[in-house]
């Protein structure tokens, strides 16, 4: 069957098997920026935003979200114009192997849209589904706080 998504602002149409999950459909169609492999919704590396809300794409049936807006890490910034969150993760040293990074940043992105002034607890809660084995999370939380600052500065300009 055919499905249509608006991925990072661009409309894309894919041919899918009705039982497929979103992760497989997206990666098969060139979206290598989405990682993941547990297929149980437990590691978070496959996180994407669906209508702005973070979900594990490995547990989302591709057919179910037909027509929706999907945001991947490429939708929030790029090498020339990184989003303050991407910049913050780099500056604070929150990126080690980088495999969990796109998913973690998207969860943080969704948090800051809902709550531009999160506490440490808010940040930890928002990121609790993105497992990381490299950083031990501390610098990731610091990066989100730094991003809050950068976003505020950006608004003041």
């Amino acid at each position: 069957m055919k499905v249509k998504y608006i991925i990072n602002g661009k409309e894309e149409e894919y041919e899918i098997h009705p039982g497929e999950v979103l992760l497989d459909v997206l990666r098969r169609n060139g979206h290598s920026e989405i990682k993941g492999n547990c297929y149980l919704g437990t590691c978070g590396a496959c996180t994407v935003l669906i209508d702005g809300e973070p979900h594990t794409s490995c547990t989302i049936l591709a057919a179910k979200v037909n027509g929706k807006h999907i945001t991947t890490i490429k939708g929030i910034g790029d090498l020339n114009n990184p989003h303050p969150l991407q910049k913050a993760f780099v500056d604070v040293g929150a990126v080690q192997c980088g495999f969990c990074t796109p998913g973690t940043i998207l969860s943080a992105y969704a948090l800051l849209k809902k709550n531009p002034n999160p506490t440490d607890e808010d940040i930890k809660k928002a990121l609790d589904g993105n497992l990381c084995r490299c950083t031990g999370y501390v610098q990731q939380v610091e990066a989100v706080k730094f991003a809050v600052k950068l976003l505020k500065e950006g608004k003041d300009e």
């Binding site: 149980l40 991947t72 910034g77 990184p82 084995r133 490299c134």
Partner: protein
């Protein structure tokens, strides 16, 4: 130190922005047309002979191109351990074996057009097993009459396979029996550590293809590209020159990728079909069939004099190496070699270890590498000695630890598979770590004064550690540096950045040496065709060994640059020249020239030559980093739940070349260690099948499982390391089990002898201790 321009700076990790913006950098982010997908069939039995295997139906399944079993693959004994040659691990496996030795051992592989077809075809493979009695416990495995797991006639390098002994270690210094008799206080206890898995978020994944010249190219998620090349050549009986191994960005390794696990199978399919091939582990396969941490049972005995000086230490380590002996000997060696020298004041020391085969999942390299298991036992026994002496365990450690200028006979006696190398400590900030860490946690106010709030009790615990920086006289790395027109440099080196940031550290070392910015160093690493050799990412060798090679190459290039400048300036001597901001300056004459001018000149104009050099580094030194950990925990007496409240890691890793990256290593390791101490373990059925191969039931820490974490760096200058640096990658994973175990004792006076310290185990220990208190005291 403060004069450094690049060393000691939080240089942005050179790949961080690319990773944070989702560039295709990992093995599986690039796909090739016409790729065959490979899936593996595993043994449901812990111990069985494959009497027959019929793949005819599977071969006929639509889309299937090839089915592999022991019948049609090379029978070349080798080890899967990614170690230097000759590997100190037994050659105890073929690509596929005739006998399966654990639930999860591989039986066959199907290569098909799609993963789904491969999975369906696997179901059609008919295997006739002759099930043999399985041996799941290492102590049982060593007994007379136990079934022999490795009865292959072709096995080599195992200590005594008929007794299921993959290896055996016996090191004695002085006379421990005499030492114990001479001691005023003797403590003896046994501690067990559990199976655990690294769970890198990126699983093992390999893609192979033939290039335009018909050479095999292996694109794989590995820590050891050069070992992959050599061992694949060996296992497939093809020349090394026919193979190229490329290591792109890796999504974490932690030791499980210090193995040659999937590369031979994938390569074989490509060689036989001419087509690209792809294979990766599902998360479940990662748990069951990749590698794990060796479960240890460590018996510690310590004798001390009443003034607190340790006099005799004996460690007996029983290591369960699982079905294959990869890393068995060396991990066990580290349980002694990275622990005992810390307490070098004890003149009588003994380390004995049996490394035993069982029909259990295969253990291999895992961050900490035996030191973790050794310290889990030793650091708790140290606290027990302090208790018997009526001494603060902080005092006991302060009195006994190794100091700068000192050595220990263990360094030489216990190497990794061969004799070690005597080390003299040249940098050690242990006293500063002890002071600062204790202050940060409030040790002297809190220790011995557990704080109770209803049923919740708080206590503090500590542990002290050393590790190493590479394996002396064994680990070698090399780097090639060459100059470009604009004064930038290409650094081609074998060092293997698995996410740690080693490439950035390497750039900083070049930048510091040549007076340029790290951004002007283009790093390309770990490609067996394009970069010189490096053993790979293990033994905490990155900064020290790979970085050492980079420094060597940079120093040679520096000389070349200065010579060209000298000639251009017409001066007799370049000794006092300064390299700064991309320029060479002669301070006496004030003359200066930019690196770019030198480059244009030497590439195009006069005396043309490529400014560049290769440096190799191998060292008799392996300077230990040091760490002291402190933790405050809160135990719920009624439920047994332990909550870590605050964790302090005080670390001496020499000069931190990139403090942010160092901090990342420290925190990442200790959080992993907290998982290992409190929640991570494998569960098995009585027949040896692992029952929790997923994150739902193998619990690793999330953001909501963290204590308050404080990192304290005490800087020292290590003369043998590049710009004074030592390693930091492994050491901090060793702290949590003993620190938390000691804190539990401070809080409730109980000690657990098995990790992880789950609420069920803690509650049981609380109950037992309450019962003991009620019993009439037995005169001993």
């Amino acid at each position: 130190m403060s004069n450094f321009k690049s060393i000691g700076k939080d240089t942005k990790k050179i790949d961080a922005l690319s990773l944070a913006t989702g560039q295709p950098m990992f093995v599986d982010d690039v796909s090739f047309p016409n790729t065959l997908q490979i899936k593996l069939l595993y043994s449901p039995h812990a111990h069985a002979i494959i009497e027959d295997i019929d793949t005819s139906e599977a071969e006929k399944y639509p889309g299937v191109k090839m089915v592999l079993t022991y019948k049609n693959t090379p029978h070349v004994p080798h080890t899967t351990a990614g170690q230097g040659w000759p590997e100190p691990s037994p050659y105890d496996t073929w690509m596929f074996n005739e006998k399966v030795k654990f639930v999860g051992d591989r039986v066959a592989a199907v290569a098909a057009e799609t993963e789904e077809q491969a999975v369906e075809a696997l179901k059609l493979i008919k295997v006739k097993y002759k099930v043999l009695p399985a041996i799941l416990d290492p102590e049982e495995a060593m007994k007379d009459g136990a079934p022999i797991i490795h009865d292959e006639p072709w096995i080599t390098g195992a200590y005594d396979p008929k007794k299921n002994l993959a290896a055996h270690i016996d090191i004695r210094v002085g006379d421990v029996e005499k030492g114990f008799k001479e001691s005023d206080v003797v403590v003896e206890e046994t501690f067990e550590t559990q199976y655990a898995q690294h769970t890198p978020i990126e699983p093992h994944v390999t893609i192979t293809y033939l290039d335009e010249y018909g050479r095999l190219v292996i694109r794989t998620s590995t820590q050891v590209p050069f070992h992959v090349r050599r061992i694949v050549a060996q296992a497939l009986q093809i020349p090394v020159q026919k193979i190229r191994v490329i290591k792109p960005r890796i999504g974490g390794g932690f030791g499980t990728k210090q193995e040659i696990i999937l590369e031979e199978i994938c390569s074989f399919v490509t060689l036989k079909t001419g087509r690209p091939a792809r294979i990766l582990y599902t998360r479940e396969e990662e748990f069951i069939s990749a590698r794990t941490r060796h479960p240890f049972k460590v018996k510690v005995k310590i004798g001390a004099k009443k003034d607190g000086m340790l006099h005799a230490i004996s460690l007996y380590a029983l290591s369960n190496t699982g079905a294959y002996g990869t890393h068995g000997l060396t991990v066990a060696s580290n349980a002694g070699s990275k622990t005992l020298p810390l307490y070098n004041k004890a003149e009588n020391v003994e380390f004995i270890s049996d490394i035993v085969y069982t029909n259990m999942p295969v253990a291999g390299a895992y961050r900490g590498y035996g030191a973790t298991q050794g310290y889990a036992a030793l650091e708790q026994a140290i606290d027990m000695v302090a208790e018997k002496l009526g001494m603060d365990p902080w005092e006991l450690r302060k009195k006994n630890h190794i100091k700068a200028g000192e050595t220990s006979p263990i360094f030489r006696a216990l190497g990794e598979g061969r004799e070690g190398v005597t080390q003299y400590i040249q940098s050690c900030a242990l006293d500063e770590l002890l002071e600062k860490g204790a202050k940060e946690i409030g040790w002297f106010e809190k220790y011995g004064r557990p704080k109770r709030n209803g049923s919740k009790v708080r206590g503090v615990g500590m542990s002290m550690h050393m590790q190493g920086s590479g394996i002396p006289l064994i680990d070698m790395g090399a780097a090639t540096l060459k100059m470009n027109e604009d004064g930038s440099f290409n650094l081609l080196y074998g060092g293997t950045d698995i996410g740690t940031g080693l490439d950035t550290v390497a750039a900083q070392i070049v930048a510091e040496t040549l007076g340029i910015k790290p951004e002007q160093v283009i790093v390309y690493a770990s490609d067996t065709d394009l970069t010189p050799f490096d053993v790979g990412a293990y033994a905490s060798s990155g900064t020290f060994v790979s970085g050492g090679a980079v420094l060597k190459a940079a120093l040679k290039v520096r000389e070349q640059i200065l010579e060209v400048a000298r000639e251009k300036f017409g001066e007799p001597d370049s000794k006092d020249y300064i390299l700064e901001n991309g320029k060479v300056i002669s301070p006496k004459s004030g003359k200066s020239i930019t690196l770019s001018e030198i480059a244009y000149d030497t590439l195009y104009v006069k005396n043309q030559h490529q400014i560049g050099a290769t440096g190799s580094f191998v060292s008799p030194y392996s300077p230990p980093p040091f760490a002291v950990h402190f933790v405050e925990i809160e135990v719920d007496e009624e439920t047994g739940e332990i909550k870590p409240i605050k964790y302090v890691a005080a670390v001496d890793c020499g000069v931190p070349i990139n403090p942010n990256l160092v901090k990342g290593q420290i925190i990442g390791a200790l959080v992993n260690g907290i998982g290992y101490a409190l929640t991570e373990e494998y569960h098995f059925t009585p027949s040896g099948r692992m029952t929790n191969p997923n994150f739902m039931d193998y619990k690793i820490p999330s953001t909501r499982d963290l204590p308050e974490i404080k990192v304290i760096l005490a800087e020292t200058y290590e003369p043998t390391g590049p710009y004074g640096a030592k390693s930091v990658a492994e050491i901090n994973i060793n702290g949590p089990i003993p620190a938390i175990g000691n804190a539990l004792h401070d809080a409730l006076g109980i000690r657990l002898h098995r990790s992880p310290y789950t609420p069920e185990r803690v509650l049981e220990a609380i109950r037992k201790s309450k019962e003991k208190k009620l019993e009439p005291v037995d005169p001993e």
